[in-house]
């Protein structure tokens, strides 16, 4: 879907992606509209598939979000609504530390290729863990762009400067979650 944006050991980076198109399709014809557009609908609820750089997420029983890079043809459908979204890409080996300050979800549970919807800094977002780049895509309503982008930038800057709530030596989010005890996937 995208090329890696960092070298191992690099600082955290937050990039604003320009020109991407996001659509919401809903209703009993939504799946058919996706297939007609040459896209593969995700099967499971709250999951996503990435195909030729286009991300298709299933956000409801018959509701899908399509996130496609610039220059892709516009999407049309029976109940297909373009969304005005801001997309950010958070990359770097410790991006999980950024999210630990702004989101109550345990990001150690998120696996590459997985999709999530959560509140980030008080804003409802969708999140996608890119399998190839190991970066986190964050999408949200554009009206929040100034607030959330600057908030995340500040968190990234603080962490890059070594400022962490648990001090320099302690990473709250390190250690993979145990699957021995909870039965979840490690």
């Amino acid at each position: 879907m995208s090329t890696p944006v960092h070298e191992p050991g690099d600082f955290l980076q937050l990039s604003l992606l320009q020109g991407w198109q996001v659509y919401l399709l809903t209703g009993p014809r939504s799946q058919a509209d996706l297939i007609a557009a040459g896209l593969t609908p995700a099967q499971d609820l709250m999951s996503a598939v990435c195909q030729d750089g286009v991300l298709v997420a299933r956000s409801g029983r018959d509701e899908y979000m399509v996130i496609q890079p610039p220059h892709c043809p516009s999407l049309h459908g029976h109940w297909c609504f373009p969304r005005t979204e801001t997309l950010l890409r958070l990359s770097g080996p410790d991006w999980i530390e950024v999210m630990a300050q702004v989101c109550a979800y345990d990001f150690r549970q998120l696996q590459p290729g997985q999709w999530l919807m959560a509140q980030v800094g008080g804003v409802g977002c969708w999140l996608y863990y890119e399998a190839d780049s190991a970066a986190l895509l964050i999408g949200f309503d554009q009206s929040y762009q100034h607030y959330l982008h600057s908030t995340l930038q500040q968190v990234v800057a603080d962490l890059n400067a070594g400022l962490s709530p648990a001090g320099k030596t302690q990473s709250a989010a390190c250690v993979n979650p145990s699957d021995v005890l909870t039965g979840g996937a490690a």
Partner: protein, 971 residues
């Protein structure tokens, strides 16, 4: 009294790094790793504080943050706890509670008047005669309180973070270290938290010279640090337990909000002071405090010591003193030293004097300990006729412990008093909670380690959902008491303190009970026992013992007060965290700022309040904007409105249920006013509903209620199983309202939609293209002029806005803001939900009976309530005006209407009307005045009454001709 010892094996100080600081204007030195208290003691400063009420001299008591005898302030901070705050270079400190210096405290005279300041004195004094209270109040405010705050301090925020684990182990002493290791070896993801900068706890300071313990200590620590499944949070205090094992860890850099699957409490115990006359003198301290001084900071606590013993730990402490070069005058044992084990025997063989069945009757000295008076003790009382005096400058008390169980109580564990150990012990634990170590009554090292393994195995088994046959909770508890049941000695002259924070004496508790405050909750609040900064850590247990004795009942029957977070005080900067205050901006935000818009908050949105103009006041600028809309053309950004697509075969049915008006009869291409009430009939929102297709509706909602309206629609369609899809497009679509007689003329040049009156009548909705962008136009009438609401993609909005401003320039187009819009709709008598309505307003009160089709609509939310309310109206929204050219004080929103001294209503909206040339407004007025009066009175600022004239609504264009007035027709 104190001096540095030779390097100790486990000392925290770094002798190669000297830190310079100031205390009371005097230059002092300490080492890196010192706390403030230890650095001061090392410099020879033995007096560390003055007590709260009587300004008595104070020094080290616990050195464990279980007391606040050593409280300091600097230019940048206050209430700095010297016992636990690390020394930093450059600190400039003073004691918190000394008037002048500690040595020459000008308020020390208060101690001489202590008999006039007993417990609860402030409830009974200073209020008669009443006229003198302001005099006393000034003095009390000056004297009361701890620490000074400066408003010049800069705001500090410490970011918080979330964290997760399988098991949180609280406390990194022997038990905690073992529990963490056992759990981690079993595969658990473990967080180990301890409030101290170094792991070890009492395994360090109580076993510092124990060779056997040394190898265990090193092994445990190394294994813990190296284990990949253990995260260590040292210097982190777990400040509370919240539902589902949600625990904040407070560290120097901020709070980590930890969610655990289970918690193991290895929190240990808090040493308790003995109560006797002058037990607060500098030089009197807990035995564990002396051990901490020696082990951590290499401080010799005194020259010549007496030890008051109530357990075996006292004798170990005595041995530590001997090793530190302190002479021991005597060990005073409250019971028999024969039961204290090998260490007692060792000391006896060394020739240390031991007095069995004795107690300290009194400590002697002015500003520091000089001697103690000892007397025979029968377990309850001293024989004051057989006293002897022992010279000393140090008295250690080791009489017992209280469990550090505050968070256990918060987690709903139950504790009961165990008469074998003379300690409260857990008897029942909720799911996910385990305890181990001394908090569970396991005192020897072997017991603690075994108990820790038991607890960790049980915790891991519970996480796995396994049924494991574990040892019972009490399996590894000691069989010997480590606390004396009554370490309390009465004295006719008093000054035997129970709560050091509050200067609370033994007699104060007896007097409180005599006054009827003899219940654990009442005695706490009347006497303030446990209500000081230490939060009862050194006072609660003795307070319970005393009340139990007064009541003649058991400890369990006496009970305990409720332990609530925070365990220790938490800085505001940590609680504040990073500021998350979401803010939304429309697509035209930058344009508004460039054009001098004064922005205001509308929910989380920023909207232009008005556009500033050179030479014009705020009111003048708003006035001009209103006039521009009435006479020329105006454009307002209304992108903040809620915008919801309602789709599906049951869409009409859903909207019929949610709104009072019937939406299923709405024709395609038309809109209808949409009033939403709740189940009790109260107005909660309004907007419009437009029909685009048989199964497609477009709903708008107010800015502040958009999310709630979406939630209401979402909830109802699920509850009723309706075949509906909702799409919230509030952020994706922008909206602007073009209003004025030139609106149609301007728009018709840039859209392919037929705007003629016949093709697009008032209240119509059309889809088409505008400047090449898909658009929805809605003919609205909120401001009372020919108007079109333009809804389009937010990405295209700025382009269209600019185009409209440019194309409208010849017609004198002006942007207008929220305030101008408020005036315009007021002139039309249109309500704003939440401004002209309150939490009880129903449609009949708001003159909106026309929006409530009780007879013609079978069902809608709130119908049953409105059917009852129809005949029960008690107030009415009315219009009013002031005379033209009125020059007096202008009433404001929320000013009250007064009739014969009684409140009969309030103003909800008021503004000067350019169209009418006078001030107009809306007011909610009680019946019958709303119906029958021509003139009413409003009380303005300052108390004057202003007459207002009741007017019919709307004020402007009653026939609604302006909604369709069109410049093209005129042309």
């Amino acid at each position: 009294m104190s001096c540095r010892l030779d390097p100790q094996p486990l000392e925290w100080i770094n002798r190669s790094e000297t830190l310079n600081f100031q205390f009371e204007g005097r230059a002092v030195q300490g080492f890196a790793g010192d706390c403030i208290t230890s650095a001061l003691l090392a410099s020879g400063q033995t007096l560390l504080g003055r007590s709260f009420k009587y300004h008595r001299p104070r020094s080290v008591l616990s050195l464990a943050n279980h007391d606040v005898n050593a409280l300091f302030e600097s230019a940048e901070a206050t209430n700095i706890r010297g016992d636990v705050v690390p020394l930093q270079a450059g600190m400039n400190l003073r004691a918190c509670h000394a008037n002048g210096s500690l040595e020459q405290d000008k308020d020390a005279w208060l101690g001489a008047f202590s008999r006039f300041l007993p417990v609860g004195f402030y409830y009974k004094t200073f209020h008669k005669p009443k006229k003198f209270f302001p005099f006393w109040e000034k003095i009390i405010r000056q004297k009361a309180g701890l620490g000074r705050i400066s408003t010049a301090w800069s705001v500090e925020r410490q970011a918080k973070q979330y964290a997760f684990c399988d098991l949180l182990v609280i406390g990194a002493g022997a038990s905690g270290l073992q529990a963490a290791l056992t759990a981690a070896e079993a595969g658990a993801d473990v967080v180990l938290a301890d409030e101290n900068p170094h792991l070890g706890g009492s395994l360090d300071y109580q076993y510092a010279q124990d060779a056997q313990a040394a190898s265990l200590r090193d092994q445990l620590k190394q294994q813990v640090y190296q284990h990949p499944r253990i995260r260590v949070f040292s210097e982190h205090m777990v400040c509370g337990w919240y539902t589902d094992h949600y625990l904040p860890l407070v560290g120097p850099q901020g709070i980590t909000k930890l969610r655990a699957q289970g918690v193991i409490f290895a929190t240990g115990v808090m040493e308790q002071p003995a109560v006797f006359r002058n037990n607060d003198l500098p030089g009197v301290m807990l035995a564990s405090a002396a051990q901490r001084l020696i082990t951590r900071y290499a401080i010799k606590p005194g020259k010549k010591a007496v030890i008051l013993a109530g357990n075996a730990e006292a004798y170990s402490a005595a041995l530590d003193l001997l090793r530190a070069g302190v002479e021991i005058a005597a060990i005073v044992d409250l019971a028999s030293s024969q039961t204290r084990g090998e260490v007692a025997e060792d000391l006896r063989h060394r020739g240390v004097k031991i007095l069995d069945h004795s107690a300290v009757y009194e400590a002697c000295g002015k500003k520091s300990l000089q001697a103690v008076v000892v007397a025979p003790f029968d377990g309850r009382n001293c024989d004051s006729g057989l006293t002897q005096t022992l010279d000393c400058d140090l008295l250690l008390t080791s009489v017992g412990w209280a469990p550090t169980a505050q968070l256990l109580y918060q987690a709903k564990a139950q504790l009961a008093y165990d008469t074998t150990l003379e300690q409260l012990l857990p008897v029942s634990l909720p799911s996910g909670i385990q305890v181990c170590g001394r908090v569970n009554g396991a005192f020897t090292l072997a017991q603690r380690l075994a108990d820790a393994k038991r607890a960790a195995q049980a915790a891991v088994a519970e996480l796995r959902g396994e049924r494991l046959e574990t040892d019972a909770l009490a399996t590894y508890r000691d069989s010997q008491a480590h606390s004396h049941p009554w370490p309390i000695v009465a004295h006719p002259k008093g000054k035997n303190f129970v709560d050091f924070d509050e200067d609370l004496q033994l007699k104060d508790l007896y007097n409180a009970a005599k006054e009827g405050f003899d219940n654990i909750e009442l005695i706490k609040r009347f006497s303030t026992n446990g209500m000081g900064p230490s939060q009862g850590k050194h006072a609660n247990m003795n307070g319970i013992r005393i009340l139990a004795q007064i009541r003649g009942q058991s400890i369990d029957a006496t009970g305990s007060t409720t332990a609530r977070p925070m365990f220790h005080p938490v800085p505001i900067s940590a609680l504040a965290g990073r500021r998350f205050r979401p803010e939304r901006c429309t697509a035209m935000h930058a344009w508004h700022l460039e054009h001098q818009a004064k922005m205001m908050e509308a929910g989380v949105w920023l909207r232009p309040e008005y556009y500033a103009r050179p030479g014009l006041s705020r009111e003048e600028a708003i006035f001009q904007e209103v006039e521009a809309v009435r006479k020329q053309l105006g454009l307002i950004d209304v992108s903040t409105l809620g915008k919801i697509e309602v789709l599906g075969p049951d869409a009409a049915r859903l909207l019929d249920l949610v709104y009072t008006m019937k939406m299923s009869t709405l024709k395609i291409g038309m809109t209808r006013y949409a009033l939403m009430v709740d189940q009790s009939g109260v107005i909660v929102d309004d907007g419009i509903v437009g029909r685009l297709a048989e199964d497609q509706f477009y709903v708008t909602a107010t800015t502040s209620h958009a999310d709630a309206t979406f939630k209401t629609l979402s909830r109802l369609l699920v509850e009723l199983g309706l075949e509906v899809r909702l799409v919230n497009r509030t952020g994706s679509l922008a909206a602007m309202n073009l209003a004025g007689r030139a609106a149609r003329q301007l728009l018709s040049g840039i859209t392919d939609i037929d705007l003629s009156e016949a093709a697009f009548p008032y209240l119509g909705i059309r889809e088409g293209q505008l400047l090449g962008h898909p658009v929805r136009l809605i003919r609205v009438g909120f401001v009372g002029e020919l108007g079109y609401e333009i809804h389009l993609s937010a990405q295209a909005a700025l382009e269209v806005w600019n185009a409209l401003m440019q194309a409208g320039a010849p017609a004198g187009i002006r942007p207008f803001g929220v305030e101008a819009q408020r005036v315009l709709r007021l002139e039309k008598g249109h309500i704003i939900v939440g401004q002209d309505t309150d939490g009880l307003t129903h449609p009949y009160e708001a003159n909106m009976a026309w929006a409530v089709p009780l007879k013609s609509k079978a069902w809608f939310t709130g119908k049953a309530s409105l059917a009852r309310l129809q005949g029960l109206c008690q107030r009415q929204l009315i219009g009013f005006c002031l005379p033209p050219h009125y020059q007096g004080p202008i009433p404001k929103e929320c000013h009250l209407l007064i009739e014969q001294g009684e409140i009969i209503g309030r103003i909800t909206s008021i503004a000067p009307s350019p169209a009418l040339g006078r001030v107009i407004g809306l007011a909610m007025v009680d019946l019958p005045w709303a119906n029958s009066s021509k003139f009413l009175q409003v009380r303005v600022d300052g108390g004057a009454l202003v007459e207002i004239e009741v007017c019919s609504l709307p004020f402007y264009d009653a026939e609604g001709l302006r909604q369709t007035a069109d410049l093209t027709e005129v042309v």
